[in-house]
Amino acid sequence: MMLIDIVFYTFFLLAALAAVGILITKNVIHAAFYLVVCLISLAGLYVLFDATYLAVVQLLVYAGGVIVLLAFGIMITNRSDGQLLSSSHLLLPGILAFGGVLVLFTIFTVKFSPGIPVNPDSDQVQQMGIVFMTDYLLAFELIAYLLLVVLVGASYLAKSSQS
């Protein structure tokens, strides 16, 4: 069982360090890279927590889609002089928020009495598929409509910004 623990700790540390990296770096491109590292390590953690389906979705949607979007954003908005904006402003409020949230959420997590983990069923994908189409049909349809709205809205806004 040692292997599992080692893998877990590596992903755990990778995610944490990536987050710290985003904080420290001033360069947007590095930040995007650190974000990718963090997402991938999270996907790994999901696998460890028997959420393999979600891990794949994460990799596809996030690592694939969102990061690409971010990349386009960075390329368009990064002006040639590449002057790096100084990061440290509103330091005090940031620290305060960070401390408060960290303390509170850890309180919640500590008070939480975890349920006994259940070993996974055979194949989640098929089970999830059925559930999507039966119990969660309403949510599924609604999320579809939402995506349509976002698609139309975002593209309209983006188009008008170019003209």
Binding site: I4, F49, L54, I74, S87, G94, L102, Q127, L147, L157
Partner: protein
Amino acid sequence: MSIDPVYGLGLSAFLFSMGLLVIIIKRNAIFVLIGIELILNAANLNFVVFSSADPANTGQLFGVFSVVLAAAEAAIALAILLNIFKFYKSTDLHQLNRLKY
């Protein structure tokens, strides 16, 4: 696969706080977007950790929905960012102060 879920929750709390810190401190709009992605992922992690104890695995399902929604949000954010860039020629949040009294 008995990994103690507390670590997961701890990591999610840490990621959430780091994300919040990034959002508040950074001046570049892209950083703030990245920060938002981070805190949404932290919430996702939470769901995954809890769904490990749930036979019906609803947490994971929620995670899927939440990932999709995060993507949608990123799309909108970038669309609006493009607009802002057109007017302000920069993504520095300090310059966004036209909304005076």
